[in-house]
């Protein structure tokens, strides 16, 4: 059962979305801009249904979500492992961090042409690009989280006879988890950007691909429908994954509430 506060928040959010759609509909119908260039939300909804009925929507959504999920998983796992190691083992950090820091400022989009040359336009290049982009925010947050672990946690573990390898998964990983989650949430947003960009660069299915082909056919209504879908997926992914993390690590939510 939703609380009164949550209900109020949902009503407010719904009202603002309805108001936005009404204003959009009115402006589009007035006709300052041709309706095919600036379609009203009712037309976008029709285009959306058209895509759903033809089966394109399901195909595109499946392709994009799979790429986002796998790319996010690859980038995050690597980011967490490397971040924990560079955050805690100074000698490895001295070797690895300079290399990572050189690549980190690169806009991830900039590597796509190179990745296509290396891997072609198949799935590998897309997953690599998404994983590459997700790696950096997850790595930097994990690295900082692992470094910032209070000494008293490590000392407590030392007096409780925890071995060095155990220390990583029993103390350093959970201790750095609030930071890792922050990096992961940034990674989710970046993953969806990269899904879109990598699909624009060459794909046969996906929401980015749909936007690209709709653009070539001047179907602005379909482009907007696909864009809204992409935005909705990005927002829902953050919401769902955060809820899953809270379910797996309830103390994280409690810390946030304190």
């Amino acid at each position: 059962m939703l609380s009164f506060g949550a209900m109020k928040q949902i009503i407010r959010a719904s009202l603002s979305i309805i108001a936005f759609l009404v204003v959009w509909e009115i402006i589009a119908r007035i006709g300052f801009i041709h309706i095919s260039l600036f379609p009203p939300p009712t037309r976008v909804a029709v285009a959306f249904l058209e895509m759903a009925q033809s089966g394109e929507l399901l195909r595109d959504v499946q392709a994009s979500l799979w790429r986002a999920f796998v790319g996010l998983a690859l980038g995050s796992i690597l980011g967490v492992v490397v971040g924990l190691v560079t955050g805690r083992i100074e000698r490895i950090n001295n070797y690895l961090s300079p290399i990572i820091q050189i690549f980190r400022p690169l806009p991830p989009v900039a590597i796509i042409p190179l990745v296509i040359v290396w891997f072609g336009i198949g799935e590998t290049s897309k997953l690599f690009s998404i994983g590459f982009a997700v790696f950096f925010p997850v790595w930097v947050n994990t690295h900082i989280g692992a470094r910032e672990i209070p000494k008293t946690y490590l000392w407590s573990a030392q007096t409780l006879r925890v071995r060095r390898f155990e220390l990583f998964w029993r103390v350093i990983f959970p201790g750095a988890l609030p930071f890792i989650v922050a990096g992961f949430r940034t990674g989710i947003a970046i993953a969806f950007v990269m899904v879109f960009v990598s699909e624009l660069a060459g794909a046969s299915a996906g929401i980015g691909y749909q936007i690209s082909v709709s653009h070539l056919a001047y179907r602005v209504d379909r482009m907007i429908a696909a864009l809204i879908l992409l935005g909705l997926f990005g927002a829902s992914a953050d919401l769902i994954l955060t809820r899953l993390l809270w379910a797996a690590f309830p103390w994280l939510k409690l810390l946030g509430q304190k």
Binding site: T152, W155, S156, L160, V171, W251, Q257
Partner: protein, 268 residues
């Protein structure tokens, strides 16, 4: 026969070229409750960290291997429940025995109904009780406590002192307790060592019988002892110190003379 459980001789600790502890000597007997008092920055916590092996040190230190530690700033793990924190150091113990021990400790700290709560759901006093239970779980020979009640309000602090004494009196572990609160040190301890600017300024035997009740804090003898310890602490502000040798005495009297004999250059 030497009954000492902890023996420290010539303990020196340096951070970034600065000497924090200037050659401390003291002994603690098995089952003794000893407090270290001193002003902020005098090296109290550094002394505990050196004994626990957290920092590099010089000197001859004899301390049992099994040491439990309780910190001031709630070093319980926020990702584990009360039960999980207490069980943390018990990975080498079998299932049934382990569960019995954990339940006993949970009952001892009075958190049976909160055993599945996380530290962020507990009060400061409750968190520190969990920290002590976690330290006791592995049955260490010595417990080192670094201002464990320093972050608590006065009322909770006094309740925790009485609770700690009851726990301690059950098995008389050797305890080294660091605090800046003289009243707390006198109430809890068998002996109080006064530390100032990295040297031992004095040592006081506490003459009160056990078990101790809160009301002894209002007795004239208690108040007088507090005054004497405070006076001794003030020595660290009045007397210049040198980076070599501590002022140590065995009989409760200030022994600056001994140090002067050993280090005549300090007279100038």
């Amino acid at each position: 026969m030497d009954h000492s459980h902890i023996q420290v001789s010539g303990l020196r600790v340096r951070y970034d070229g600065n000497e924090i502890l200037h050659g401390l000597d003291f002994k603690i007997d098995r089952g003794e409750f000893v407090s270290i008092v001193g002003a902020s920055g005098c090296g109290k916590s550094t002394l505990l960290h050196a004994l626990a092996g957290f920092v590099h040190k010089e000197g001859d230190i004899r301390i049992p291997e099994d040491v439990g530690m309780v910190f001031q700033n709630y070093a319980v793990f926020p990702w584990l429940t009360v039960r999980g924190n207490i069980a943390f150091g018990l990975s080498g113990i079998g299932g049934r025995q382990k569960n019995v021990l954990i339940e006993r400790l949970i009952n001892m700290i009075g958190l049976a109904t909160d055993a599945n709560k996380y530290p962020s759901q507990l009060s400061g006093g409750q968190v520190q009780r969990v920290a002590l239970a976690r330290a006791l779980a592995t049955d260490p020979d010595v417990i080192l406590m670094d201002e464990p009640f320093g972050a608590l309000d006065m009322y909770t602090r006094e309740k925790m002192q009485t609770w700690l004494l009851n726990v301690w009196e059950a098995d008389h572990k050797t305890v080294l307790f660091v605090t800046h609160n003289i009243e707390e040190a006198v109430f809890l301890s068998d002996r109080v060592i006064v530390l100032g600017q990295g040297i031992i300024l004095g040592e006081f035997l506490i003459p009160f019988d056990r078990p101790r009740l809160e009301k002894i804090k209002f007795s004239p003898a208690f108040v007088e002892l507090k005054r004497q310890i405070l006076e001794r602490m003030q020595q660290s502000f009045l007397q210049p110190t040198t980076p070599s040798g501590g002022i140590y005495h065995d009989n409760g009297k200030f022994s600056a003379e001994r140090r002067r004999e050993e280090e005549p250059y300090d007279q100038a």
